[in-house]
Symmetry: C2
Subunit: 237 residues, 2 copies
DNA sequence: CACATCATCGAACGGTGTTCTATCGTACTT
DNA sequence: AAGTACGATAGAACACCGTTCGATGATGTG
């Protein structure tokens, strides 16, 4: 069965004594250090100074471990969002919130992939969802429009995050090739393409070279929010 | 040692003869049948009637197998996009293309996760990217705006695709719980939340219940395209 | 002190991607 | 026609993964 909220932190001498908190904290630490592949039960056990099977007392399987770890960090993310000042423009507030989300994913790229998992099962995710949606209640929209608006914003965040979160291929991880050099090669390959066959790629290759992920995200977000503003204004007038 | 004479008379193990095409086709078939976890080298080898190690002659590792398989199906997807009639409104054309992409991901949910991997390495992905971007060349935008517009549209597709592509948890896969029942439970749980603490969730729970993924995607896409139209019009006038 | 329960752990199982080495079959050389 | 080089295949083994099982230390209760 699963561990309940009780926690005995009496320090054992030979045997390791864990707690839900420590398990999740170390799991997140592993994820932060080297992404999802780094989070293995064996690595986690070693880190906790205990045995592998012990972790299964706190967690049913790896899926649940990932869920709880995600919810754990979303908890603090939720605090950040709730601490936001807020303005008289709900769409501005939505923008600010989305930027906080994006920043969190930049700091923890592995978050992106697990961001939308089972909104129902993760309490903090749901509360974050509510927090975003609450802003749409201040807009003149139908219920369906509100639902779709929040979905769209989260979609933009996740869409950018997935792009951002994908780990560079072996070469870069091994340190043989620097990340900049890796991207530089791609740019170089693009430049050598047939300009007649790839007019667009040639048009934007300079933009791609040395582009800023945050800029890219902000632009995508602002397009969606501009559309939303239009939608809210249309019904209102 | 023994096989010298028996070569013809007694048919020993016939050696399998593969090809890049057959490897990729069977790999895609496995992915279609049960998603990424179903694509293992052993399952693929058995399907090809050969040994496990043989696959490594065609492919360096699983990552490359996934890349090539993805590029394989994107190839036919590209044909669909190129066969599109096209109109005098570039944004309409972008919308149509995005819908084709979305349909492809609905048909092959595993595609979503690998959709954006290494645009540079996958030739068909790059051509698809070019095809989308070409439409923005018909709009009055800066190079950077064009770059960001295409990124945004792809972001919306991927964002929806990730949401769509995540496999339901164990219960549903085991067939113990139907997918509708599973979603129904979530809806039920939402309805039982404190209305004061979760006003937005209560507002949209009816919309979520029995919602259509395609509707959700189309709404998100249209918000982005509305923003883009605004942006293009502003600079033009 | 006995006891039930919580919590921990080593060892093992089946599965995975990957590598090593040996081999077959064919096309070309001589 | 025999020999050879090489493209292509394959079995066995390795290291690692998530997961399970059974045993056992620790702890508070009667």
């Amino acid at each position: 069965m699963a561990a309940r909220l009780q926690n005995r932190s009496t320090p054992g001498r030979r045997r390791a004594s864990h707690s839900m908190e420590s398990v999740l904290t170390e799991a997140v630490a592993l994820l932060d250090e080297a992404g999802e592949p780094a989070l293995t039960f064996r690595a986690l056990a070693q880190r906790l100074g205990g045995g592998v099977a012990s972790i299964y007392w706190y967690v049913a399987n790896k899926d649940e471990l990932l869920d709880l770890a995600t919810d754990h960090v979303i908890g603090s993310l939720l605090s950040d969002v709730e601490a936001l000042p807020g303005s008289d423009d709900p769409i501005d507030d939505l923008r600010t919130m989305a930027l906080v989300l994006f920043d969190a994913i930049v700091a923890r790229p592995w978050l992106g992939a697990y961001f939308m998992r089972n909104t129902n099962a993760q309490s903090n995710s749901l509360r974050l969802y509510e927090r975003l949606g609450a802003q749409t209640l201040r807009l003149d929209l139908t219920a369906r429009q509100r639902f779709h608006a929040v979905s769209a914003i989260i979609g933009v965040v996740v869409g950018s995050a997935v792009d951002l979160g994908q780990e560079p291929p072996q070469e870069v991880l091994d340190g043989k090739v620097g990340r900049d050099e890796y991207l530089g090669r791609a740019v170089q390959a693009w430049r050598e393409l047939d300009p007649a066959g790839y007019p667009f790629v040639h048009e934007i290759v300079d933009e791609f070279d040395g582009h800023d992920d945050a800029d890219q995200f902000r632009s995508a977000l602002d397009l969606t929010l501009a559309g939303l503003r239009l939608q809210a204004g249309k019904a209102g007038a």
